[in-house]
Structures are given as C-alpha cells and as structure tokens.
Symmetry: C2
C-alpha cells in the first residue's frame, strides 16, 4: 500500500468516525426524549420509608418458603434473582404443582412500573406482595397463617420490631408486604450499556445496536415501551392492529378487562418492561414465545401492523440486549429457626 | 451482711468456681476422646481437588433449577442453605409435587459423613449429587438432559473449562457432580459453642449444657454419635433395644437392607449427624418428630432402653443446641442465560 493511499484511507476513516459520532449524538438526544437511565440509588416508594432494617427483613421474607402453606415456595421460587428475577417458565408452578395463569414478570426494576401484575391490578409492590402469598395456585397461605408463622419465631419478631420502630404490633401481614417492597426497591439493575449510552458514552453501543435503537424509535416501539423501564408505564391492547393467534393470546385471558370490566379493555395488558429482556424468556403474558427475535416480529405485526425485515428484527433485538444491567448482589439470608408454635407445613395436596 | 460472712461467702464461691473449672477440664478431656471440632479450613475430598474455580461452578450448579426437568427444583430447594441445609419438611416435595420417601438430610458438614444418604448408599458427595438429579420423585432429569442443558450455555462451558483444566470435554454429568461436591465441601459450620469448648474455652458452655454433654457420654449416646459430625460415622439399627412405633419407623422402609440385602441390616440407618440439629427438624428418616426433646426421648428408649427423666432430656437437648455453628455465607449466584439450544422445561406432569 502506498503512503498516499494510506493517508487518504485514514482521512476517510476520520471523516466516517466524525460523522458516526455526530449521528450517535443525534441518536442520543432523540433517545433522551423517550428513555431515562436507572438511577444509581434505591428509589423511594410511596408510604413506605426504605430503611436498611426494612430491606434486611424484606430480604429474609423474599427467600422465606414458610410464607407458603407448603413451606416450599418463596417469592424467589418464581422471581429467581439468579435468573433475571423470574422463573423462565411459560407460567409458574405453584402449590400442588398447579400451573399459574400467566408468565411471572420479573421483580427486577419492578419498582419503576406504573402498577404491578400484567393487568396492573396491584397499585404497587406492597399490594402485589400480598397476592401470590394468598393465591391458591401459588403459595396458598392466608394472612393469619403468615402472621402466626412470623410471630412464632423470636428472630422475626425482633427484625419486625427494628424495621417498624414505634409500632405496637409490628408483626403484621401488611408490614410483611412493606418489608418485601423495601427489599424489592433495591432490586434495580443499573449500568446497562444502554444506560451508559444515555449518560453520554455513545461508544458503548455498537453501530448495529444504535441502528436498532433508531428503528425502535422510528417504527413506533417506543410509543409504548419508554421511560425508565422501557415499558411498564401504561396499558395497551395486545393486537392493536392485528390480534396474534390464540396460541400466543389465549382467548380465555382478557387481561385488564377482568380488573376494570370496561369492554374496551379486553385483551389490554401493561406494556412489558423491556429491561433485562434477554434474561426473561419466555415472553408475553402467555409465556409462549422463547425467541426474542420472534417476540419482536410478533410485536411488529400485532402492534404496528408491520412486517419487519429479518435485518430490522436483528437490529432491534441487538438493541434490546443492551438493556441488560448489573444483576443484584445478594447475600443468601439465614432464616430464623422454627419453634413449636410455628404452623407445620400443610398436608401436601393441591387446594 | 457482716464483712465476715461476706468473706466466707466469697471464699465459698471461689472454691465452687475452682471446682467447676476443674470438673469442666475433666469433662473437656473426656469429650476429646469422642469428638473433634470442625476444622477451620475446607476439607480435602477424595479424587477431587477443591479449587476456587470448581467451588464457584459448584455453587452455580447447587442453585441451578435447570438441572431438574421442570426447571423449578435445584439442590437448594431441599437443601436450603438458609434453613440449616435442609427443607424442614417431613419428606421432601419433588417433581410433580411428589412426596419423597425420606427426610432430606442436611448438606451442612455432610463432607464429614462416612457416606451419603440415610442408608449410606452413596460413597461420597459426588456420588450423592447424581442421585436426586435423576430420581423421578425429585428432579426427574437424566445425565443426557443435564449435559445438553449445560453445554447449551456458553457461560457454563467456560466455567467447566476453567474448573476442569486440561480436560478435552469438561462439560459432563460426572464433572457436574464433582463441582457440586467441591462447593458442598465448603458448607461447613465451624465455631459452634461446642467447638469452642473442645478448643479449650470451657466457659462458653453453661453448667446445664456441660451436664448435658456429660449425660450424652455417660448414657451412651456418644457410642453412635461421635467424631467431627457427632454422628454420620457408622450404621446402627433404629431400635437396638426397642423398636419405635410404625408412625416413627414405617415398616416399609428397611433402611440399609435395601442396599446390602443382608438380613441383619433391616432397619439399619446411618446414625444421624447432630451438628446444627436445632435447625433441622423434623427428625429421623421418617421426619415424623418435630420436637428435639421428644427425639432425644425416643432415642433413649429405642437405642439405650432407658426412660430418661425430663431433666436429663432437657440437659441433653441443651447440649445439642451448642452444636449450632456459623452458617455459610453465600453470595446468591447469577446463573447463565439459556439459549435456543437449552432444553425447554418439561411438560408439567409427574413422571
């Protein structure tokens, strides 16, 4: 290679690099209109001061199988913190090996969602935490049983007393839920490559990933999947343009309609939050799709009425994989030992 | 109180204290003939170098639900490290909510047992680890499925390659078992009050606990429950003197007889290791007894032919509670994400 050609090539590369940087900066400015990075501190939650004592208690409760009547199932069973905060099953397995009705959503970053559950029927995480504990197909317990269980172990009484100072009777089902919410508020996954991009480091995303981000905004995905959680902010019909098949959208599950009883909310669900999406297959409330590219293609046709090219799908998928953040570091908690007053595990039959 | 009386009382107290110390030292010397403290370093295991890479991989595998065909049950499900290394159930709940035949033994300090399982049918922990993975009532998987699963995830291939350097095909079912054994060898609970006593600090055990230890040796408990694990060293008939009722010793489970087919091994079991015994109710292979005092009373009649007084039982129980050591500190592992090649969870039916 002559030196002239080399110089010309280098100049060209410099120009290209400069134009890439310019376009990356434009992309960044556009992205900032839609998305926010995960904050680096634990977010506050409504009506529940997140203290370290409460977090520590909440961690114990999150891993506590004796919140279930079988003494086998804990929050972590279906919201496994080592597996993206969910169970990687189509729908969860619960008490008596019963199959739950919907795919378990991730607990990671759930604090940023507008409301909890696929249909948003729980206002916040403390309301959510009370659901599975009582659901017959999940943990199959009762508030009374939970309170008796927790009161039976002096170490829990002490931990509740510390976590809820000044309360005369701190060991309650409500406070169980508040402590779990406090712990869950710590389960955020900052520092994904997309977060770093949003903070101004445009080099951290490849050209293909940036093109995917551009497509994600241009095609309209970001109309529903925006904010801190790239979703989880609002409710939309699954099949705005074209309903997917019954294999993916079973006719028996009408989503938010069951909550609001409003006819135009049939098949309406909370837009899935897309953070750590590569860790949380299978996808959709039905959990029927294991392949992220296929999930993107289904969203394109059902929500946007668009047949995306394979290349477009690959680019968007590449962008989605930049949403994987630092997973929570958790010391596995040592749980209090039961006493003779602790309710025994229930007969091992389905309810 | 006159100063004379006070002096006399103080002198008496000093004499009493001196005689207590003398008797504590005698007790210590006697105890050393039977028991050894838990070593402060991870013990070596046969044919399996315990390296940090292997421990790290083994920890992931110990918490890996995808070793089960349902993708729900991990080693930790029944050997919960937050609950004394067992599940606090009579007998475990496994695949399809099936009830296992025997109470799950603790994994803590299991490395010190002569062999594994209640009947000693697994020579060591690496042999043991292969059992539950394949048992239809437990994890219901196969070596082939496990290998396919692990090979499908690049992060596992990398971890196996590091843990088993120089091996051409490191991702095998056997190496899974070896890695789990290496991790389990770290699950020791040193520094119990009894260990401190054995190391010479006689003040750490109360007078009642020391009396319990004396009774434990005098009555003959230590004939079977000795060594590092205060048990787990040999095989003995349950009911040497008097068979307990069928509620506690079900006639269908003949223990080691099923392994050796030797008539005189009917109802023979490995003596339960008693470390952390206060954390691992319910007791016996049948898991039918929740109260430690009751368990001591049953052992007294069945193994020693002795009706112990309530006071004796309370003292021995107090001693047994000094066997609770420091529980393992474990960072909850982040598990590799599945790929399209990872076998999907099996249809949710019992096998």
């Amino acid at each position: 290679m002559t030196s002239k050609i080399a110089v010309a090539l280098m100049a060209g590369a410099a120009v290209l690099a400069a134009s890439q940087i310019a376009s990356a900066n434009e992309l960044l400015e556009e992205a900032k209109d839609y998305f926010q990075p995960i904050p680096s501190v634990v977010p506050a939650v409504k009506d529940n001061a997140v203290t370290s004592d409460k977090i520590e208690l909440g961690k114990m409760l999150f891993f506590e199988p004796r919140l279930s009547s079988s003494a086998l199932i804990s929050c972590n069973t279906c919201h496994n913190l080592g597996m993206g905060g969910d169970d990687n099953l189509e729908t969860s397995i619960g008490h008596g090996w019963q199959k739950g009705p919907r795919n378990a959503p991730t607990v990671l970053n759930a604090v940023f969602n507008i409301a909890q559950f696929w249909d948003g029927r729980a206002e916040d995480l403390k309301a959510q935490a009370k659901g599975p504990v009582q659901a017959g197909v999940e943990m199959a317990s009762t508030p009374e049983r939970v309170e008796t269980t927790l009161k039976s172990m002096p170490a829990y009484v002490e931990a509740f007393t510390k976590a809820f100072p000044g309360e005369e009777k701190p060991v309650t089902f409500d406070n169980m839920a508040k402590a779990i919410e406090a712990f869950e508020a710590t389960l955020i996954t900052p520092y994904s490559r997309f977060d770093q991009f949003l903070e101004g480091n445009t080099k951290v995303m490849t050209a293909m990933e940036q093109e995917g981000l551009q497509l994600f905004m241009d095609k309209g995905c970001s109309a529903c999947h925006a904010g801190v959680n790239i979703g989880g902010e609002g409710y939309y019909p699954f099949g705005v343009v074209e309903k997917p098949g019954a294999d993916i959208l079973p006719s028996g599950d009408k989503g938010r309609f069951a909550v609001t009883k409003t006819a135009d909310e049939e098949y309406v669900f909370r837009a899935g939050p897309l953070r750590n999406i590569e860790l949380t297959a299978p996808y959709f409330h039905s959990g029927k799709v294991w392949d992220l590219e296929q999930a993107v293609a289904i969203m394109a046709t059902s929500q946007l009425g668009e047949e995306m090219s394979d290349e477009e799908i690959k680019k968007i998928t590449a962008f989605l994989k930049t949403l994987t953040g630092e997973q929570p570091k958790v010391d596995y908690p040592i749980l209090p030992v039961e006493t003779q007053e602790t309710p025994k595990p229930e007969a091992m039959v389905a309810k």
